[in-house]
Structures are given as structure tokens and as C-alpha cells.
């Protein structure tokens, strides 16, 4: 019985680990900036890009109130180009698409620390 309990404790730990990788959410790509249910305005930061540090992979974002925040964009963060304003389909983007002046929404990877991006949506202007 003792062995069985130890075994099930192992089961608990491994099963919990297997469930950590939440976040498939691929349909998120098609949701325009500021409209993500349960995220926009709560666990995401929305504003204009005022600075980009390629080497550190960070962007500085200033919101409508003038508050600025620098957020790291890790390699595994998904980046989408929001072209819904032009009535065009949204695309997968890259760090190079994060350019000063563009509107951006960043969902935090960690809701408490708010330092790293889980996903990024950047508005692409016509012809941009």
C-alpha cells in the first residue's frame, strides 16, 4: 500500500506537469486588437510602440494615459499582424514587424509579473 501511495503521488506530479502547457489558442490571431475575451484590458497591455530593442527583444509601449512599459518578447511568443481595420486577413508576423508608432497589444505570459509576452498583436497600416 505504501508503494502504491508513493506511486500515485508521482502520478499527481507528472500529471500536473503535463497540464501546464495551456495556450493553444490559435484562433486568437483573428481577434482584433483590444477585443480578446477575458484578456483585453485585463491581462494585456495596449498602446503605441515607442521603442524597440532588437538585442534584448523588448518593446516599450505607451498607453493612452501616457504610461510606458517595457515588455520582453521571447522567441516563443506568437506575433500576429492585425489587418482587420483594412478588412484583410490577419497574418503571422515576426519581431521585425514590431515597429515604432504601430499600435500593439501584448498579452502577458505571467499575469502577476507582467514582464514577458505570451502573444503580441500589432496593427499594420495599409501598405505597411
Amino acid at each position: 500500500m505504501h508503494k502504491r501511495i508513493i506511486g500515485f503521488v508521482t502520478l499527481v506530479l507528472l500529471a500536473a506537469g503535463a497540464s501546464q502547457a495551456l495556450g493553444q489558442e490559435q484562433t486568437e490571431r483573428y481577434i482584433p486588437i483590444g477585443q480578446s475575451p477575458g484578456i483585453s484590458g485585463i491581462y494585456a497591455y495596449l498602446g503605441a510602440i515607442t521603442g524597440v530593442d532588437q538585442s534584448a527583444r523588448t518593446v516599450t509601449v505607451q498607453d493612452e494615459q501616457g504610461n510606458a512599459r517595457t515588455i520582453r518578447i521571447p522567441d516563443d511568443a506568437r506575433i500576429w499582424l492585425d489587418r482587420s481595420a483594412q478588412k484583410e486577413t490577419n497574418l503571422t508576423g515576426s519581431f521585425a514587424d514590431l515597429q515604432v508608432g504601430r499600435t500593439i497589444e501584448v498579452k502577458y505570459k505571467d499575469r502577476e509579473r507582467r514582464e514577458e509576452a505570451d502573444w503580441v498583436k500589432v496593427a499594420v497600416v495599409a501598405g505597411g
Binding site: 502520478l11 499527481v12 500536473a16 493553444q24 483573428y30 475575451p37 482587420s84
Partner: protein
Amino acid sequence: MKRGHFVQLLAVNSALPLIILTLSACPPAPPSPPDPVLEGERLFFNETFAGNGRTCGTCHRAEDNFGLTPAFIAMLPPDDALFVAETNPDLANNFENPTLMRAFGLILENQDGFDDLANNFNMRGIPHTLALRTSVNSAQGPQTGWSGDGAPGDGSLRSFTTGAVIQHFTLTTNRIPGIDFRLPTDDELDAIEAFMLSVGRQEDLTLPLALKGVIASRGQEIFLDNTLGKCNACHANAGANGDPAIFGPTAGNLNFNTGVEDLPDQPADLTGEPNPPDDGQGTPGNGAFNTPPLVEAADTGPFFHNNSVETIEGAVAFYNGDAFNNSPAGQLIAGATGSGINLDATQVVAVAAFLRVVNALENIREAIALLDASPPASSERRTTLLARARAEADDAIFVLRGGGLHPEAVTHLTASRDLIDQVLSRYSASRIREAIEAQERARNELVTTN
């Protein structure tokens, strides 16, 4: 008349013209807000979100246990919105596979992304939406869809609707909001979530039940035995949550890689149709899929995320095979208990009999609730409730008869169904009461209740 009363009456009469004037000067009272559950039900079955014509109810049919089976699909007319890939040229490619949809009830999902629609997709069955109140929450957050990660936004059941609209309701594969569909509003998401949470069982069972049938009783023992069936570890009380005694009090719903993808001779593969391997939760996936509730299993096959097993007996037998016992979950079970799962045929049938009986008990509970709610309802609403009660009676008959179980209960259930048919043709409150009593007699054949 006493004087006091006369004075009061006089006072009221004197004031009456003033009251009438005041009332007529008032703006009309604002309409009371719609019941969120009823509003959610209306949206669930009628709202297309300006898309291709599908609604939530296109795939989650109330008459088919809020899922959709190949048998039900075969009865649908060719212009049903389910078949938009056959009728809308813009959706002819990379949106559905009509062959696999019609043969096996499989729906195309792009859960690993939309950049390579021709190659990056999976074919998945349609999970029922019964008992969601018991099966979504976990210590890791909400678990939605076959791999627990089906919702955009905050990953909640509420947000799941938004993802479903984008994946399944779109007019073209461009998926441009405002053109190919509209996104649900916050109020609509709230209402649809309220409706989904209201459907079916609202709480888990407490096992063991005092079952009367010897085979189902033995099946229940095997189910609960952590050295034999080992089922209860991940399906506590035949639900969708991990056993709190093993996984902790807040574990809730869990994901596991049980090796279903490694099954040989999967039906969809045998057709030769494109059917890429499904990597489960995450992108790239970790091979894990969500634990579904078992109370509702017996009448909601085919089973597993890819509809690969047709019968409940086959689904139980899966856990005896190499695909499960060599899988990460199977190896965990073997490591934890000293052996894999190895049931003989009679034990497999006993566990399945247990699942058939608890399913029938849930059918009966739901049918009685629907019948109870039908007399005070409007005529249209009553017809809806009665039709669902009839479907529940039909399902109970199906699951019991399919296992050769409780023929007396089947007789009572058949009588109840016939009575519901009579009420559907001509309303009678006494017939509804008789239908409920027949359901109760059927239940008494299955279980001893206090």
C-alpha cells in the same frame, strides 16, 4: 361597512383619477432583462454571427445529446448548415472533409495554426456539452475542447464561443472579422456560457451507488478498485475530474496522453483520407487530451477525440491494450500501481454495464426534470422540453438494451416514451405525470434510492 373602511375607500376613489393621470404620464416600464439561460439557448441554436449559417447547435444538437453522431448526420437534409463545405464554394477546400464528417462525425480543426491549411489540421469528433459545470475547471485553469486548450482569450468556456465562431462559422477561410463573421459581444458570451453551464448534470455523483443489477454492481467495484480497473483515479465518481485523494482537492479536470493516437487501424485512417496525427494540447502539442465525464459516455459515442471506437465496451477495452499501457499515462499507472490495466472480457463488459446503468440513471434524471418543467411552459417551449425528454427516454432504452441490461426498466422507459409521444400530439398534464411515474419505476429497477 365599517366607517373606517368607508373612509379608506373614499380616499382611494378620490385619488384614483390622480393615480391614473400619474400612471399615464409615466414612461412605460422598461422590459425586464431576458433570462440569461433562455437568451443563451436562443443564441446557441439560432445565432449565426453573420457567418456561413452554422450555429452552435449545428454541431451540438439537443436531440443528439448536444453532440453529433454519424447516424444523426445521415438524417440531415443536404442543405443543412453542417454541410457548408459541400454547398459553399469558398469553403470547399481546407474547411471540412465531408467524407470523414459523414462516415465518422469528424470535424476539421486547425488547433496548431492557420498558416498551412492544407496540411496543418486534425480531424476530431464533436464532444457533447453536457455536464460542463462539472468538467471544465482545474487547478491549471479552465479546460475546454478535446485537448483542454480550445478557447482563445482567457481560455474560459465563455471565450470558447469566440474561438468556435472563428474556426467553424466563417464564410471563407480568410476569417476576417466583420466580413466573414462577427465576433460575439460580451453579453452574448455571458448568455451562451450561462446556457451551456445549465445543460445536463450540475454535480458529480457520489459512488458507490446501490445498484440492483449484479453485473453493473461488479462493474462498479472494478471501476473503483485502484488495483484492478483503476478507472476512478482519473474519472472520480465516473466524472471528468481526478480523484481528489490522489491528485489533490483542487486538481479538477486533467489532461493525459493515453495513447489513443497510437491505436492501430483507426477508422478514419482506413479510408485513406488525409488524417494527420493529432498532437493534442499546446502548439507544438504534448500529446495530451482532456478527460471527459463518463456518466454521459454510453449514449455519446463514438469515443475518444478521433471517434476511433464505436462502443462503450470497446472504449473500456482500450485500457487493456498496448496503445494505452505503453502510453505515458499507462506507464504512470503501471509505475504507480505495479501493473498496467488488464481486465478480462467479462470484466470489461461489467465496467461497461456500470457505465450504461449510470448513463441510463442520468437520462432518467434529466427526463424527469424536463417533464416536470413542461406543464407551466408555453406551448412552443413545452414541445421543446418534451422532445428532449423523449430523446432522454430513447437514450436510456438504447444504452440498457445495448448491454442486455434491465429489461423491466426498458419496458417502463418504453411506456414513458409512448406517453410523451401522446402528450406531444395532444397536451395532457395527467399523461405527463404518468410518464414521470414510468421513469421513476424504471429508476427503481436500476438502483435503490432513499
